[in-house]
Each structure stands twice: as C-alpha cells, then as structure tokens.
C-alpha cells in the first residue's frame, strides 16, 4: 500500500481546532518575532503594548498574540495585494508576542500601517492590525483588530470600524502614550476576553 493511497482515504472535512495549551513558548516564541521592522524599514516606528484580561479581571500570563498588517504605505507583502511588488522589503508584516514576562504584557515593535486604498467594492481601510489571540482555555483562537485612537478621521470611514457600536469601537482602540513627535510612538491596548469591557471578536 502506498503512502499516498492512505492519505486520500483519511482526508475529509476541516480539521478541528485545539488550544495551544499552557506550554507553547519554546515551540512558538522565538527571539525577535515581536519586531516586525528591519534596518531600513519605512514609516513611523511604533510600539504596541498591553495586557489580556480574563472575566475575573486577571491579566493572563499564558497568552500569545499574532499580528498581521500592511506596511507604512498600506501594502501587504503577499501576492493577493496588487501593490505587493512595491511592499517594503524591510518589513515582514507578521509578528508574534507572548504575555509570559514578569509584567504579563505583550509588546510589538513595528511601524504604523498605512491606509489601504479603496477598491470598487470597499472603502479605504483605516490603519489597523489584524490580530489573533491564542492561549490556554481558548479551544479556537480569537480574531480581532486594533485601530489607532489618533486616526479618528480615517476610522470614521473605515467600513469595519464604522459599522460597530461605540463600546465595540472603544475596545479596539489603542491609545497613544507619548508625544506624536517622538521617534517611537507608544500605543497601549488592553484586551478583555469577557466582562463589561469585552473586546469585540470576529468569528475566526
């Protein structure tokens, strides 16, 4: 019996999700994976940091966040983006951070994404990060987005952000922590898996 014949017999339907568990760190967390830019990257350097809270208000020490974003000019480094050939070669777009540090914070060093241009079907997309949340107790990961509080005009016409309630919008906003003129702008964004401040999550 060939290996290929066995394969076709067993493949049918999507494979279900399972939790990353509490012990994912040495398999998924590598030094530097939370730094998205390299020497020469274009755009405003930013740091995004925060915590993830459970329904009891406790910051979680065993969560992993992944972010995916456009470069400073709103281009994704992927063939599905018609402008991908011009994407910043010094910017990867993907980052991963855990919350297992002493202070249970995640931290990304990246550049502020640009606005993604409009298409015939979709209005311009405000600068944002696409975010996945993994952790113990999350059998299927969670999907959300992070927007920037200092981009109010762009957010108001973003087709996703504008469709949300005020409370939902607030849960997605990262707040600037320092002066806009500083070399590295710091943004703070907390996620709440449950409770009065529950973060808006999309179906993954």
């Amino acid at each position: 019996m060939s290996a290929t014949a066995t394969a076709s017999a067993s493949v049918s339907g999507q494979t279900p999700s399972q939790t990353v568990g509490p012990f994912f760190h040495y398999g998924l967390i590598f030094p530097g994976e939370n730094v998205l830019h390299r020497e020469g990257a274009q755009g405003q350097r930013i740091i995004v940091t925060g915590q993830v809270f459970d329904g009891d208000g406790a910051p979680l020490p065993d969560v992993m966040l992944e972010i995916w974003q456009a470069d400073a000019h709103g281009r994704y480094r992927h063939p599905a983006d018609p402008r991908h050939a011009d994407a910043d070669p010094h910017f990867f777009g993907f980052g991963r951070s855990d919350t297992t540090h002493a202070d249970q914070t995640f931290r990304f060093e990246t550049v502020k994404p640009g606005t993604v241009p409009a298409t015939e079907d979709v209005s311009p997309l405000a600068p944002h990060l696409a975010v996945h949340v993994f952790g113990r107790g999350l059998l299927t990961h969670l999907a959300t987005r992070m927007y920037f509080a200092d981009e109010a005009a762009a957010n108001a016409t973003d087709p996703v952000f504008a469709s949300l309630s005020a409370a939902q919008q607030k849960s997605l906003l990262a707040l600037p922590q320092n002066d806009a003129d500083s070399d590295v702008r710091v943004y703070h964004w907390d996620l709440h898996l449950q409770g009065d401040s529950e973060t808006l999550f999309f179906h993954p």
């Binding site: 999507q14 999700s17 398999g27 983006d81 993604v116 079907d121 696409a130 059998l139």
Partner: protein, 242 residues
C-alpha cells in the same frame, strides 16, 4: 460623511467542526470564553493575505526533533516519524506552508518553568520543530513519542499523548492550531480538550493513523496525520483606486 461601502465576508471556520469557546468540562474556558456574539469576519486585504515564509526561516535540523536538541546523546523514548498532507477544504494542497510542532518528551514533561510534573526533563530533547510543506502540501518530521501527563482540570486528569500543530494557510483566516493524537489511546474518551469537539466523527480527525508504509525498518514507527484547513477564497483586488 458618506456611509462606508459594505464588506464581503471572509470564509469562516465551521461551528460544526470547531469546539465552542465555552466548553465547561475544560475549566480554563469558563473565565476566558467571550460572552458576546462573535461578528462575521470581514474580507479585506488583511484577510485575503497571510505571512509568506521561506526556507531562510528554517534551520537544517528543524524537522528532526531527535537531533535538534541534542547536547550529549540521543533523546530517550520511542522514535517516530510523522507525515501527512496539508490541504484546504477545496482539496488544494497548501504549498510552502509553515508547520510548527511542539510536544512533551517521552516521560510527559515539557521544558517550561510552569510544568511541575515530576517526570524527568530529557537534556537531549526540546520537543519543538518547524517544517515547510512541499509542492504537494506534504510535511514530514522525526520525533519521540510523547508521554501522557497529569493536569489539574478534574480529579485524576491526564492529557493523552499529543503533538501540537500550528499551521498558516493561504490567508489570515485559514490559520489553525490543533493537536495530533495517537490511535488506540484509552485516555481520549476521558479528555475534556479532545472531547470539546461535539461530533465524534469530527473529533476522530485528530487521531493519526499508524502507517506501516511510513515506518522505517530498524529506525522508528510511522504515523500519518493529514490536515484540512478552511479554504482560502482568492478574490484579489485588481481595481484599487490609487
């Protein structure tokens, strides 16, 4: 200010397939499952794209967990070979996809400061590896069969031996993290994480097959574990108003 144009929606993971966020027998979900209704995910360029990986991100021994953590000898335990195909639910192979795996050692112990199980750490086994799928969507790695280990979810709780898998599909919404289990394991029917998947036939998709064609003489037993991701729906934007 004009109303934004409506959005197409991204393909989604199926409720019938994936475990619910709130699964009370798995106690950690109680304070962590969102209570608000999840919204349909929009389909914009963020969802039509995903990280693109290359060989330059992998080291030569990343696919061999029996060698990539060696300090002064071979790791303890039963050597295994694990292989399979990664396809999407339209049947297309997921090519050059990054597959990341991590697992306990043969004694059921993770290298992690919070793992307090008093089984021995194996100095020659880290239990982590990375593989890229080939043009047919196939991956293959060599490892040690992981042991069961106790946890505190319920009285006398033991996790069945398992290998964690992380996969990136062709688009950001096709991301999947899952676990591979071994055939014939009596712990499976007692495990709240495995049983969080409501349908028994769908749960069984997480059990690998013993495959004698993968087994290598004098070396190790072979297991086959095929993985089907949510299908990517490619509608690249060719009409950007720049």
């Amino acid at each position: 200010m004009p109303d934004p144009l409506p959005l197409p929606l991204a393909p989604r993971l199926s409720d019938a397939v994936h475990p619910p966020h709130l699964s009370p027998d798995y106690r950690s979900t109680l304070a962590r499952a969102p209570r608000q209704r999840l919204l349909p995910r929009p389909q914009t360029l963020a969802e039509l794209t995903a990280p693109v990986y290359g060989e330059d991100r992998l080291k030569p021994l990343d696919h061999d967990l029996t060698r990539n953590g060696v300090r002064d000898g071979a790791p303890q335990g039963e050597r295994i070979i694990v292989t399979g195909r990664v396809i999407d639910d339209t049947g297309r192979p997921v090519r050059r996809a990054l597959v990341e795996v991590w697992q306990a050692n043969a004694a059921g112990r993770y290298i992690h400061k919070l793992d307090q199980h008093d089984a021995p750490i194996d100095p020659n086994f880290t239990g982590a590896g990375r593989i890229l799928t080939d043009d047919e969507g196939c991956y293959r790695f060599i490892s040690i069969r992981p042991g069961a280990y106790p946890w505190r979810n319920q009285p006398n709780a033991w996790r069945p031996p398992h290998i964690h898998f992380s996969l990136f599909g062709p688009q950001f919404p096709t991301r999947l993290v899952t676990q591979m289990y071994f055939p014939g394991d009596p712990l499976l029917k007692l495990d709240p994480i495995y049983n969080s998947i409501p349908d028994e036939d769908i749960r069984r998709r997480l059990i690998s097959d013993y495959d004698h064609a993968v087994t290598e003489p004098g070396f190790g037993l072979g297991y086959r574990f095929d993985i089907v991701l949510c299908g990517g729906r490619m509608t690249p934007f060719e009409n950007l108003k720049l």
